[in-house]
Amino acid sequence: MTFTGLIGTICMFPLRGIIAVCVALRIHPNILTFVGVLINAWAAYKLARGHFIGAGFIMIVANIFDFIDGKVARELGEVSKFGGFWDSVLDRFSDIALFIGLIYLYAHMGRTDYVMVASFAMMFALMTSYTRARAESLIDKCKVGFMERPERIVLLMIGAFTNRMAGVLWVILVLSIFTVADRVLLTYRVLRDQAGAATT
């Protein structure tokens, strides 16, 4: 088993219990998604005030809700197209809220350089999701690139807990640019090959 696989397995133990509680209480998965966004907004406020450790703990709670909503939906047999759509839309709000928290913090400190780094990181983080969604309306699957939402969230938590947010923002920015480029390139190749196959 790989190192990251082991961490995933360990984290699944408490999550299974939380999922079981939510299923027993028959909490609708769309409500879990919405609560996750509200908690993320609280984390964003903490980030904006520079309370990184507090923000880190709140992000953990928020992302438990984010993580379990799909699993609770499957267990309750409440999987729906709208649920998937709702989850994707609210995930973007959560992403944006966290970045806005950091942008506010750096703006308040008069650090326009990091206002720009955080803004570009936010832009490419959103484009990562958009390029995949748009690509998958044209091609079967567009799951390439390293920096997806779980990686981004874990990195923001690491940045918050260890007070290394600047380094984390640079990593998110650079790898999100690569991820967007990967998705554009893959979509171009697949569509080109499809067009080539259609003409022969």
Binding site: T2, G8, M109, R111, F146, L155, N163, R164, A166, V171
Partner: protein
């Protein structure tokens, strides 16, 4: 790309990322990212919230 030299292929695979989570390639990428985040001296990237030269600065200081 399959006929390119190994370092070129490695760079290309790191750029054009197609590996799943929980693979050894993913682990390697995670280690590289964590090394950058934790070892990069905050002063070098003008971190607004953290200061100091970090482990690399400490090593360089004792090396000289």
């Amino acid at each position: 790309m399959k006929r390119a030299p190994l370092p070129v292929r490695m760079l290309w695979n790191a750029f054009f990322w197609t590996f799943e989570r929980a693979t050894w390639q993913y682990d390697l990428m995670v280690i590289a990212i964590l090394a950058f985040v934790w070892l990069m001296p905050p002063d070098w990237i003008k971190d607004p919230m953290a200061h100091g030269t970090g482990p690399i600065g400490w090593l360089l200081h004792h090396w000289r």
